[in-house]
């Protein structure tokens, strides 16, 4: 095995003489690695952007939603609400600086001739505007903040981008459940396409419209006093809610979720983790197919080169030498494929990044870590070697006399 560099040269030369087929085989690996690198660097970028957004909201936000903590989906779409006394209990908890309540529901709205399903979000406008501006980064793109008492609404930035065929302008009217509302303002992007597609209106108007009980809310966001530990305040809120519910309704179960922003980050990360696992799974299938391609090419190549193998064995090549040469060939295919996939993947992710930054619906940068690149290369070389193992062993075990006789 002391001649590994020589075997390497022989392997490289063998690949070069079959360059078209070698490149096609390499392409099979390129596609798999390309998928992994581009999608993972994008999703990693999205993850970082979301975490940043969560952090920009302040590390000390607590969200309270009705429904069991175990089922996030149920919490988001379930019909349960926080009652007025629940909200009072939250407001009275020690360490709570301000409470922002919000209700939302999907509803069909009409603008000119078009109808669309959008998310309607009701907020106590007078109370919450300050919090929204200060902590959530809300600001006006166009128009004036809606005045409570009037039938005025605020819409997200997406409305003026591509929500409706006809351009949406401040001052125009939309119809919800047969009632007309005036668009008072358009907000600057809030960070996500879904947030930017919503309608925001006063909770009073909202509850009239959808028939929700006055004073209740779908969720509450709590801004806590500076210097306090969010987890402790969250515990206190839980305790207060529990007491209130027991007193009023005799309930004994925790039918609400109190989530700190830290926990929220954990949840989004775990969701993105699942997405990333799916990406890796599918890309692995692509790489597996690429690997089978390598095996196939190597087998073909061994059939063609049977005589060469016979010659090499006749002039003194040991089985291990032949095995090494073929394994190195397969490994090189894997390596070049991996390298190509990484370059193409980064290139593609960069284009997506530039595109989204030019259209800042959701601003993020791709994230390419050295470990991702190392992983891509390692994985592709490994695939190459494993795919080449069978053919290489077959080549190594050929009997010299049979190999020389073949194709005479």
């Amino acid at each position: 095995m002391g001649q590994i560099d020589e075997y390497f040269k022989i392997a490289l030369r063998n690949l070069r003489t079959r360059s078209l087929r070698s490149w096609l085989t390499i392409l099979g690996i390129v596609i798999g690695i390309f998928l992994i690198i581009s999608l993972l660097s994008l999703s990693e970028g999205v993850k970082e952007a979301i975490n940043q957004q969560m952090e920009s909201m302040g590390g000390d936000i607590i969200m309270i939603m009705p429904g069991s903590e175990e089922s996030m989906v149920g919490m988001m779409v379930g019909g349960e609400v926080l009652e007025k006394q629940d909200i009072t209990a939250i407001e009275r908890t020690k360490g709570v600086e301000s409470v922002l309540t919000m209700s939302y529901r999907g509803i069909i709205v009409r603008y000119k001739e078009e109808a669309k399903m959008v998310l309607l979000a009701g907020l106590p406008w007078d109370k919450s505007l300050e919090i929204l501006e200060r902590y959530q980064g809300w600001n006006l793109f166009e128009g004036e903040w809606p005045v409570s008492g009037k039938r005025e609404i605020a819409v997200g930035k997406q409305w003026v981008i591509d929500m409706f065929e006809e351009k949406v302008k401040v001052g125009q009217e939309i119809t919800i459940k047969g009632r007309k509302f005036k668009i008072a303002c358009i907000l600057n992007s809030l960070g996500s396409k879904s947030d930017d597609s919503q309608i925001y209106l006063d909770i009073g108007l909202y509850q009239d419209l959808v028939g929700e009980k006055k004073g209740s809310a779908k969720m509450a966001m709590v801004k806590i006093e500076k210097g306090l530990c969010p987890d402790e305040v969250a515990e206190d809120i839980k305790e207060n809610l529990r007491k209130t519910r027991k007193r009023i309704a005799g309930e004994d179960t925790d039918d609400f979720a109190v989530i700190t922003s830290e926990k929220m980050i954990g949840v989004t990360n775990s969701i993105l983790g699942i997405i990333q696992s799916a990406i890796i799974l599918f890309a692995s299938i692509a790489i597996l197919v690429g690997g089978i391609g390598i095996t196939n090419t190597m087998f073909t190549s061994i059939r063609e080169r049977t005589r060469e193998i016979g010659i090499m064995k006749a002039i003194g090549a040991k089985n291990s030498a032949v095995l090494s040469i073929f394994l190195i060939e397969a490994g090189i295919i894997g390596f070049i494929g991996g390298l190509g996939g990484i370059i193409l993947g980064i290139f593609c992710a960069k284009i997506v990044e530039l595109y989204t930054q030019a259209n800042p619906v959701f601003y993020f940068s791709i994230s390419i870590s050295p470990s991702l690149i190392f992983f891509g290369l390692f994985f592709s070389v490994l695939t190459g070697c494993i795919s080449g193992l069978f053919p290489a062993r077959k080549a190594a075990r050929l009997k010299p006399v049979e190999a020389l006789r073949r194709y005479e």
Partner: protein, 238 residues
């Protein structure tokens, strides 16, 4: 002085199984070849001469019987040990030249030395010297496809002598060449034999070629029929 037996075959059989038919290629062959001999194995097509050569060269193993190379029983050696033995002790010259098509002349001659772990500089020098000695000093960077049959066979001879083997085996070395080129090839082989005292075994069906050797072995239907010394005056007569 008793010469060392470089090749010794004891009751060697080779039987090929072709479906249900058994084809006997070698029938109880006993053979001794002295170190330093120039031997020709003659026989018509299908006589078993190539089989005999493959067995002597450790490219194939006998069905029955024993093969000794330099006194060593080759049936006791592993595949890797056989490879090592071939690389070090035996040089091959084939009828079809069997050069590696992707390599140039120099690299082809250097190849056997790679497997013996020789350094690049040593290999290059040795290969260059050998190519010069077979008269190809000017064409060392040519690929086999750019060379004539005779030139290719000369590369193959240079390659066979790369590791200074004690035994060189040539299977119909002139079979694919015209008589003039064939003569040149035989002269190169005899030259190596005379200068370096190597044992050379040539398989042929051409009596003219046999005239170059000191000893002729005739083989017919897998059996050795005549095993006689050529008269001295025939030698180098052509």
């Amino acid at each position: 002085m008793i010469k060392e037996k470089i090749v010794k075959l004891e009751d060697t059989w080779k039987v090929y199984q072709l479906g249900k038919v058994e084809l006997v290629a070698l029938k109880q062959v006993n053979l001794n070849i002295d170190s330093g001999d120039f031997v020709t194995i003659m026989g018509s097509s299908g006589s078993g001469k190539s089989t005999l050569l493959n067995i002597i060269g450790c490219l194939d193993s006998p069905t029955k019987g024993k093969v000794f190379l330099k006194g060593k029983d080759t049936s006791l050696l592993s595949e890797d040990q056989l490879s090592q033995l071939r690389g070090k002790t035996i040089g091959f010259v084939f009828q079809e030249f069997n050069l590696l098509p992707n390599l140039d002349a120099l690299e082809n001659v250097m190849m056997p030395m790679i497997f013996q772990g020789m350094s690049f500089e040593q290999r290059k020098k040795r290969a260059h010297d050998l190519l010069v000695s077979v008269g190809l000093g000017e064409r060392i960077y040519h690929q086999p496809a750019e060379l004539s049959g005779g030139e290719r066979q000369r590369i193959a001879i240079a390659r066979a002598f790369a590791n200074s083997p004690e035994l060189v085996i040539a299977d119909e070395p002139t079979g694919n060449l015209d008589s003039k080129t064939g003569k040149k090839i035989m002269e190169i082989l005899t030259d190596f034999h005379k200068k370096e005292g190597k044992t050379i075994i040539v398989v042929t069906h051409d009596p003219n070629i046999a005239n170059y050797s000191e000893k002729v072995i005739n083989i017919k239907d897998g059996e050795i029929v005549i095993n006689h010394k050529q008269k001295g005056e025939f030698l180098w007569g052509k």
